[in-house]
Protein backbone atom coordinates (compact mmCIF):
# COMPACT_ATOMS: atom_id res chain seq x y z
CA UNK A 1 0.00 0.00 0.00
CA UNK A 2 1.20 3.44 -0.80
CA UNK A 3 1.30 5.96 2.02
CA UNK A 4 1.70 9.59 1.30
CA UNK A 5 0.78 12.79 3.00
CA UNK A 6 -2.41 14.40 1.75
CA UNK A 7 -4.75 17.07 3.09
CA UNK A 8 -3.29 20.29 1.92
CA UNK A 9 -4.51 23.78 2.49
CA UNK A 10 -5.10 25.41 -0.90
CA UNK A 11 -6.30 28.80 0.28
CA UNK A 12 -7.70 30.50 3.35
CA UNK A 13 -9.24 33.87 4.05
CA UNK A 14 -10.38 35.85 7.06
CA UNK A 15 -12.78 38.63 6.23
CA UNK A 16 -11.65 42.07 7.32
CA UNK A 17 -15.06 43.55 6.59
CA UNK A 18 -18.53 42.31 5.74
CA UNK A 19 -19.11 40.76 2.34
CA UNK A 20 -21.92 39.02 0.47
CA UNK A 21 -19.51 36.69 -1.33
CA UNK A 22 -16.47 34.58 -0.65
CA UNK A 23 -14.85 33.17 -3.77
CA UNK A 24 -12.18 30.56 -4.25
CA UNK A 25 -10.87 30.77 -7.81
CA UNK A 26 -8.15 29.15 -9.89
CA UNK A 27 -8.53 25.92 -7.92
CA UNK A 28 -5.88 23.50 -9.18
CA UNK A 29 -7.01 20.14 -10.55
CA UNK A 30 -4.32 18.20 -8.75
CA UNK A 31 -6.41 16.86 -5.86
CA UNK A 32 -9.10 14.20 -5.63
CA UNK A 33 -11.59 15.87 -3.27
CA UNK A 34 -12.02 19.33 -1.83
CA UNK A 35 -13.03 20.23 1.72
CA UNK A 36 -14.20 23.76 2.44
CA UNK A 37 -14.60 24.88 6.04
CA UNK A 38 -16.47 28.10 6.75
CA UNK A 39 -16.76 29.41 10.29
CA UNK A 40 -18.27 32.74 11.14
CA UNK A 41 -21.24 35.01 11.48
CA UNK A 42 -23.81 36.96 9.50
CA UNK A 43 -25.17 40.46 9.99
CA UNK A 44 -28.32 39.09 11.63
CA UNK A 45 -29.89 35.71 12.29
CA UNK A 46 -31.20 33.13 9.83
CA UNK A 47 -29.19 33.94 6.73
CA UNK A 48 -28.80 30.97 4.43
CA UNK A 49 -25.59 29.98 2.68
CA UNK A 50 -25.65 29.42 -1.09
CA UNK A 51 -23.03 27.75 -3.25
CA UNK A 52 -22.22 27.96 -6.95
CA UNK A 53 -19.49 26.34 -8.96
CA UNK A 54 -17.53 28.08 -11.70
CA UNK A 55 -19.97 31.02 -11.41
CA UNK A 56 -22.61 29.01 -13.28
CA UNK A 57 -25.95 30.79 -12.85
CA UNK A 58 -28.05 28.36 -14.91
CA UNK A 59 -30.65 26.05 -13.35
CA UNK A 60 -28.20 23.19 -12.97
CA UNK A 61 -28.32 22.69 -9.23
CA UNK A 62 -30.34 20.57 -6.82
CA UNK A 63 -30.05 19.51 -3.21
CA UNK A 64 -31.61 17.01 -0.80
CA UNK A 65 -31.51 18.15 2.83
CA UNK A 66 -32.05 16.80 6.31
CA UNK A 67 -32.50 19.26 9.15
CA UNK A 68 -33.39 19.58 12.82
CA UNK A 69 -33.87 22.46 15.24
CA UNK A 70 -34.07 20.77 18.61
CA UNK A 71 -37.77 19.96 18.41
CA UNK A 72 -38.46 19.07 14.78
CA UNK A 73 -36.67 17.01 12.12
CA UNK A 74 -37.47 17.23 8.45
CA UNK A 75 -36.21 16.85 4.92
CA UNK A 76 -36.79 18.61 1.63
CA UNK A 77 -35.41 18.95 -1.88
CA UNK A 78 -34.74 21.94 -4.12
CA UNK A 79 -34.60 21.06 -7.83
CA UNK A 80 -33.57 22.89 -11.00
CA UNK A 81 -32.19 25.74 -8.96
CA UNK A 82 -29.62 28.35 -9.95
CA UNK A 83 -27.51 27.57 -6.89
CA UNK A 84 -27.36 25.18 -3.95
CA UNK A 85 -28.94 26.41 -0.75
CA UNK A 86 -26.97 24.34 1.72
CA UNK A 87 -28.63 25.50 4.93
CA UNK A 88 -32.06 25.24 6.52
CA UNK A 89 -31.73 25.50 10.31
CA UNK A 90 -27.93 25.40 10.32
CA UNK A 91 -27.69 28.80 8.72
CA UNK A 92 -25.56 31.78 9.67
CA UNK A 93 -26.45 34.31 12.35
CA UNK A 94 -24.93 36.59 14.92
CA UNK A 95 -23.59 33.58 16.83
CA UNK A 96 -20.86 31.43 15.34
CA UNK A 97 -21.82 28.95 12.64
CA UNK A 98 -19.79 26.20 11.00
CA UNK A 99 -20.25 24.91 7.47
CA UNK A 100 -18.22 22.00 6.08
CA UNK A 101 -18.46 21.14 2.39
CA UNK A 102 -17.02 17.95 0.88
CA UNK A 103 -16.79 18.31 -2.89
CA UNK A 104 -15.99 14.92 -4.36
CA UNK A 105 -13.96 14.11 -7.45
CA UNK A 106 -14.22 17.76 -8.41
CA UNK A 107 -11.85 17.79 -11.36
CA UNK A 108 -13.12 14.79 -13.30
CA UNK A 109 -14.78 15.64 -16.60
CA UNK A 110 -16.94 12.52 -16.90
CA UNK A 111 -19.53 12.76 -14.14
CA UNK A 112 -21.71 15.51 -12.71
CA UNK A 113 -20.44 16.98 -9.46
CA UNK A 114 -21.72 16.09 -6.01
CA UNK A 115 -21.02 17.37 -2.54
CA UNK A 116 -21.90 16.57 1.04
CA UNK A 117 -22.49 19.43 3.46
CA UNK A 118 -22.76 19.69 7.22
CA UNK A 119 -24.21 22.97 8.48
CA UNK A 120 -24.22 23.82 12.17
CA UNK A 121 -25.68 26.76 14.05
CA UNK A 122 -25.80 25.97 17.76
CA UNK A 123 -28.33 28.73 18.34
CA UNK A 124 -30.73 27.48 15.70
CA UNK A 125 -30.19 23.95 14.35
CA UNK A 126 -28.20 21.51 12.25
CA UNK A 127 -28.42 20.31 8.65
CA UNK A 128 -26.90 17.75 6.32
CA UNK A 129 -27.32 17.84 2.59
CA UNK A 130 -26.33 16.19 -0.65
CA UNK A 131 -25.91 18.68 -3.47
CA UNK A 132 -25.63 18.17 -7.21
CA UNK A 133 -24.25 20.39 -9.95
CA UNK A 134 -25.29 18.96 -13.29
CA UNK A 135 -22.09 19.70 -15.13
CA UNK A 136 -19.17 17.53 -16.13
CA UNK A 137 -16.79 20.49 -16.14
CA UNK A 138 -13.91 20.44 -13.71
CA UNK A 139 -14.59 22.73 -10.76
CA UNK A 140 -12.14 25.62 -10.81
CA UNK A 141 -14.09 28.07 -8.66
CA UNK A 142 -16.38 27.85 -5.64
CA UNK A 143 -18.62 30.80 -4.88
CA UNK A 144 -20.11 31.19 -1.39
CA UNK A 145 -23.01 33.60 -1.44
CA UNK A 146 -25.61 35.38 0.64
CA UNK A 147 -28.63 37.21 -0.71
CA UNK A 148 -31.42 39.59 0.21
CA UNK A 149 -29.44 41.65 2.65
CA UNK A 150 -27.45 38.90 4.34
CA UNK A 151 -23.70 39.19 4.55
CA UNK A 152 -20.71 37.40 6.02
CA UNK A 153 -19.26 39.45 8.85
CA UNK A 154 -15.69 40.48 9.57
CA UNK A 155 -13.76 37.69 11.23
CA UNK A 156 -15.49 34.98 9.25
CA UNK A 157 -12.95 32.43 8.07
CA UNK A 158 -13.10 30.19 5.01
CA UNK A 159 -10.46 27.60 4.23
CA UNK A 160 -10.19 25.31 1.23
CA UNK A 161 -8.30 22.02 1.46
CA UNK A 162 -7.36 19.46 -1.14
CA UNK A 163 -7.25 15.72 -0.46
CA UNK A 164 -5.26 13.46 -2.73
CA UNK A 165 -5.95 9.75 -3.10
CA UNK A 166 -3.17 7.27 -3.69
Amino acid sequence: MAAGNTYTQIASTTLGSSSTTINFTSIPSTYTDLVLVLQGTANSNYWDLYVRFNSDTASNYSVTRLFGNGSTAGSNRLSNDTLIQTTYYGNLGTGQSTQILNVMNYSNTTTNKTMLVRANNAANGVDASAGLWRSTAAITAINLLMFSGGSFQAGTTASLYGITAA
Binding site: M1, A2, A3, S62, R65, R77
Partner: protein, 185 residues
Protein backbone atom coordinates in the same frame (compact mmCIF):
# COMPACT_ATOMS: atom_id res chain seq x y z
CA UNK B 1 13.79 28.77 19.06
CA UNK B 2 14.31 28.47 22.83
CA UNK B 3 10.61 28.61 23.69
CA UNK B 4 9.83 25.73 21.37
CA UNK B 5 12.68 23.70 22.82
CA UNK B 6 11.38 24.20 26.33
CA UNK B 7 7.89 23.19 25.37
CA UNK B 8 9.04 20.14 23.46
CA UNK B 9 11.14 18.84 26.30
CA UNK B 10 8.28 19.26 28.75
CA UNK B 11 5.69 17.36 26.74
CA UNK B 12 5.44 13.60 26.71
CA UNK B 13 3.80 11.64 23.93
CA UNK B 14 3.50 12.64 20.32
CA UNK B 15 4.11 16.19 19.26
CA UNK B 16 2.15 17.68 16.43
CA UNK B 17 3.89 17.11 13.14
CA UNK B 18 2.50 19.46 10.53
CA UNK B 19 1.63 18.04 7.17
CA UNK B 20 1.95 14.33 7.88
CA UNK B 21 -1.16 13.47 9.82
CA UNK B 22 -3.58 12.42 7.08
CA UNK B 23 -2.20 9.90 4.63
CA UNK B 24 -3.58 8.21 1.58
CA UNK B 25 -3.25 4.46 2.21
CA UNK B 26 -4.85 2.95 -0.88
CA UNK B 27 -7.48 3.56 -3.56
CA UNK B 28 -9.65 1.02 -5.34
CA UNK B 29 -11.28 1.98 -8.63
CA UNK B 30 -14.09 -0.27 -9.81
CA UNK B 31 -14.05 -1.70 -13.32
CA UNK B 32 -17.76 -2.50 -13.54
CA UNK B 33 -17.42 -6.21 -12.83
CA UNK B 34 -17.41 -6.64 -9.05
CA UNK B 35 -19.97 -6.16 -6.28
CA UNK B 36 -17.28 -6.13 -3.59
CA UNK B 37 -14.27 -3.93 -3.05
CA UNK B 38 -11.73 -4.67 -0.33
CA UNK B 39 -8.84 -3.05 1.44
CA UNK B 40 -6.48 -5.61 2.93
CA UNK B 41 -3.27 -5.53 4.97
CA UNK B 42 -4.26 -2.22 6.52
CA UNK B 43 -1.36 -1.02 8.68
CA UNK B 44 -2.03 -0.40 12.37
CA UNK B 45 0.01 2.78 12.46
CA UNK B 46 -2.87 5.25 12.35
CA UNK B 47 -5.44 6.29 14.93
CA UNK B 48 -8.46 6.50 12.65
CA UNK B 49 -9.39 5.55 9.10
CA UNK B 50 -11.52 7.40 6.58
CA UNK B 51 -12.98 6.04 3.35
CA UNK B 52 -14.07 8.62 0.79
CA UNK B 53 -16.44 7.21 -1.82
CA UNK B 54 -17.77 8.40 -5.12
CA UNK B 55 -19.55 5.74 -7.07
CA UNK B 56 -22.60 3.95 -8.32
CA UNK B 57 -24.07 0.49 -8.73
CA UNK B 58 -25.81 -1.32 -11.55
CA UNK B 59 -29.11 -1.61 -9.73
CA UNK B 60 -32.11 -1.67 -12.03
CA UNK B 61 -34.93 -2.17 -9.55
CA UNK B 62 -34.67 1.07 -7.68
CA UNK B 63 -32.99 4.43 -7.86
CA UNK B 64 -30.47 3.61 -5.17
CA UNK B 65 -29.49 1.13 -2.54
CA UNK B 66 -27.16 0.94 0.44
CA UNK B 67 -23.88 -0.88 0.84
CA UNK B 68 -22.78 -3.26 3.53
CA UNK B 69 -19.48 -2.93 5.37
CA UNK B 70 -17.54 -5.91 6.70
CA UNK B 71 -14.39 -6.00 8.78
CA UNK B 72 -11.75 -8.74 8.72
CA UNK B 73 -14.07 -10.84 6.50
CA UNK B 74 -16.50 -11.28 9.40
CA UNK B 75 -19.90 -12.04 7.84
CA UNK B 76 -21.65 -12.95 11.12
CA UNK B 77 -24.59 -10.59 10.97
CA UNK B 78 -25.15 -10.55 14.73
CA UNK B 79 -21.73 -8.97 15.19
CA UNK B 80 -22.93 -5.76 13.58
CA UNK B 81 -25.48 -3.18 14.61
CA UNK B 82 -26.48 0.10 13.05
CA UNK B 83 -28.60 3.18 13.68
CA UNK B 84 -29.36 5.78 11.09
CA UNK B 85 -31.06 9.12 10.57
CA UNK B 86 -32.05 9.94 7.02
CA UNK B 87 -33.94 12.38 4.87
CA UNK B 88 -35.87 11.42 1.76
CA UNK B 89 -36.38 14.91 0.42
CA UNK B 90 -39.87 15.04 1.90
CA UNK B 91 -39.50 13.63 5.40
CA UNK B 92 -36.95 12.60 7.99
CA UNK B 93 -36.87 9.04 9.25
CA UNK B 94 -34.72 6.89 11.50
CA UNK B 95 -34.19 3.26 12.27
CA UNK B 96 -31.76 0.51 13.12
CA UNK B 97 -30.54 -2.80 11.76
CA UNK B 98 -28.86 -5.77 13.34
CA UNK B 99 -27.09 -6.84 10.21
CA UNK B 100 -24.18 -6.00 7.95
CA UNK B 101 -26.77 -4.78 5.49
CA UNK B 102 -27.15 -1.01 5.01
CA UNK B 103 -24.10 -0.35 7.10
CA UNK B 104 -22.06 2.00 5.02
CA UNK B 105 -23.30 4.42 2.42
CA UNK B 106 -25.90 4.89 -0.24
CA UNK B 107 -25.08 4.35 -3.89
CA UNK B 108 -26.90 5.57 -6.92
CA UNK B 109 -27.97 3.46 -9.85
CA UNK B 110 -26.38 3.53 -13.27
CA UNK B 111 -27.00 5.67 -16.35
CA UNK B 112 -27.46 9.01 -14.70
CA UNK B 113 -23.95 10.41 -15.03
CA UNK B 114 -24.01 11.02 -11.30
CA UNK B 115 -21.92 9.30 -8.66
CA UNK B 116 -22.89 9.22 -5.01
CA UNK B 117 -20.61 10.75 -2.40
CA UNK B 118 -19.90 9.24 1.00
CA UNK B 119 -17.45 9.78 3.84
CA UNK B 120 -16.99 6.87 6.26
CA UNK B 121 -14.95 7.27 9.47
CA UNK B 122 -13.69 4.16 11.29
CA UNK B 123 -12.50 5.17 14.73
CA UNK B 124 -9.61 3.76 16.76
CA UNK B 125 -9.58 0.80 14.39
CA UNK B 126 -6.39 -0.82 15.67
CA UNK B 127 -7.24 -0.74 19.37
CA UNK B 128 -7.65 -4.28 20.73
CA UNK B 129 -9.54 -3.22 23.85
CA UNK B 130 -12.60 -1.78 22.15
CA UNK B 131 -15.41 -2.86 19.92
CA UNK B 132 -15.20 -0.87 16.71
CA UNK B 133 -17.44 2.01 15.72
CA UNK B 134 -18.13 3.67 12.42
CA UNK B 135 -19.86 6.87 11.50
CA UNK B 136 -20.73 7.96 8.00
CA UNK B 137 -22.45 10.67 6.05
CA UNK B 138 -23.56 9.88 2.56
CA UNK B 139 -26.10 11.19 0.15
CA UNK B 140 -27.56 11.22 -3.27
CA UNK B 141 -29.26 13.89 -5.24
CA UNK B 142 -30.24 13.62 -8.87
CA UNK B 143 -32.55 16.58 -9.11
CA UNK B 144 -35.83 14.69 -8.95
CA UNK B 145 -34.97 12.26 -6.16
CA UNK B 146 -32.40 11.77 -3.49
CA UNK B 147 -31.49 10.71 0.01
CA UNK B 148 -29.26 11.99 2.79
CA UNK B 149 -28.06 9.48 5.34
CA UNK B 150 -26.33 9.67 8.73
CA UNK B 151 -25.17 6.35 10.04
CA UNK B 152 -23.54 4.85 13.13
CA UNK B 153 -22.34 1.26 12.95
CA UNK B 154 -20.97 -1.01 15.65
CA UNK B 155 -18.79 -4.06 15.00
CA UNK B 156 -18.81 -6.08 18.21
CA UNK B 157 -15.25 -7.30 18.01
CA UNK B 158 -12.08 -6.06 19.72
CA UNK B 159 -9.73 -7.30 17.02
CA UNK B 160 -7.69 -4.73 15.17
CA UNK B 161 -9.21 -4.04 11.80
CA UNK B 162 -6.84 -5.22 9.09
CA UNK B 163 -9.27 -5.49 6.20
CA UNK B 164 -12.45 -3.73 5.11
CA UNK B 165 -14.93 -4.80 2.47
CA UNK B 166 -17.75 -2.75 0.99
CA UNK B 167 -20.40 -4.98 -0.53
CA UNK B 168 -23.24 -4.18 -2.89
CA UNK B 169 -26.12 -6.63 -2.61
CA UNK B 170 -27.89 -5.18 -5.62
CA UNK B 171 -25.39 -5.06 -8.44
CA UNK B 172 -21.80 -4.44 -9.40
CA UNK B 173 -20.02 -1.17 -8.81
CA UNK B 174 -20.00 0.98 -11.90
CA UNK B 175 -16.82 1.56 -13.84
CA UNK B 176 -14.70 4.34 -12.27
CA UNK B 177 -16.44 4.18 -8.90
CA UNK B 178 -13.70 5.22 -6.50
CA UNK B 179 -13.01 4.13 -2.92
CA UNK B 180 -10.11 5.91 -1.25
CA UNK B 181 -8.77 4.83 2.16
CA UNK B 182 -6.96 7.35 4.35
CA UNK B 183 -5.26 7.10 7.72
CA UNK B 184 -5.37 9.87 10.32
CA UNK B 185 -2.72 9.94 13.06
Amino acid sequence: MPMLGIMASAISGNLWAPGKDFDSIATVTATGSSATISFTSIPSTYRHLQIRVTGGISYSSNAYDALAIQFNSDTTTTNYNQHYLAGSGSSAYAGNYTSVRNAATWMIQSNTGIFSPGVIDILDYANTNKNKTVRSLSGIDFNTDGEIFFNSTLWMNTAAITSISLVSASGVFLNNSSFALYGAK
